[in-house]
Amino acid sequence: MSLSTKHKSRGMHAAHHVGPNMTPMVDVVMVILIFFMLGSSFVSPDWYLTNNTPAIKGGLSNVKTNAMPPTRINIKLRMRGTRTIAILPGLQTADLSGELASFLTNKHKALVKGVPVQIFISPSNGVPYKDVITTYSDCIQARFKQVAFRPPPAQ
């Protein structure tokens, strides 16, 4: 007796998967996607120091912004050799991020509450931009809201 291997199947045919297996491709594409997601997240990790430049009567801008308060503090930044010195009433220092910051904080605390103060930062021509930013950051830390920049003095 021979066993017949020929067998006609009735009903559902066996499902044959034709074509490449897509599952590993999903893994590869997922890795590429994660790469680009991480890449785009590294593009802009920066912070921002905001500023609303006030209008000065007779100045270059006619934009109506904050009015100029009568109480004003002028912070001069001058170069002495390779160091930047901050000069203002009551203080002269090269420690922009430490001594200047604490001085401005104490100055703000000593002010009468509700009295607006206008800060002017007046750097000279050669003062590096990073020192100007440090001074501005100190003013923000001391909670002064109105800070403006003067053009460099004529030499």
Binding site: V43, Y48, T53, S61, V63, Y129
Partner: protein, 146 residues
């Protein structure tokens, strides 16, 4: 003798082919985001650090002004280059350029992205140009210290 055949296979797997299309769309999206961000920013600028910077939540209507330091230093009156969206803008035309941008979008916000070593005498004209263009909102791009 009955020979029982193999039962027909039933395909119970999830069809992942449409998922690849969705992921490809996401990849194209992030490629475009990276390309646009790269066009706005310029290499070769080391921005200063600041302890009191804040993350800007609303980054719409931004105009980034890049101040790129000269490659050979500041000798022979070399000045930094002003780049906006990859285009070099001469100092004398910056104010008119900003006025034009402001007229097209009154809500525009200027972000100054300058190298930390640039002397203030090259930064002040940019601030003055912003004032001449009646742009009051100026932001300084910094990085986190450390």
């Amino acid at each position: 003798m009955k020979i029982r055949g193999i039962k027909p296979m039933q395909d119970t797997h999830v069809n992942v082919t449409p998922l690849i299309d969705i992921i490809m769309c996401l990849i194209i999206f992030f490629l475009l985001v990276g390309h646009i961000a790269k066009a706005a920013s310029v290499k070769g600028i080391k921005i200063p650090s600041a302890k009191n910077g804040k993350d800007m939540r609303n980054k719409s209507d931004l105009l980034i002004i890049n101040l790129v330091p000269p490659t050979g230093g500041y000798g022979d009156n070399a000045a930094p280059t002003i780049l906006i969206w990859g285009n070099q803008i001469p100092d004398s035309q910056l104010a008119s350029y900003l006025r034009k941008q402001k007229s097209g979008n009154p809500k525009i916000k200027v972000v100054l992205r300058a190298d930390r070593s640039i002397p203030y005498k090259f930064v002040a004209p940019v601030l003055i140009s912003c004032a001449q263009a009646r742009i009051a909102s100026i932001h300084f791009m910094t990085r986190r210290p450390g």
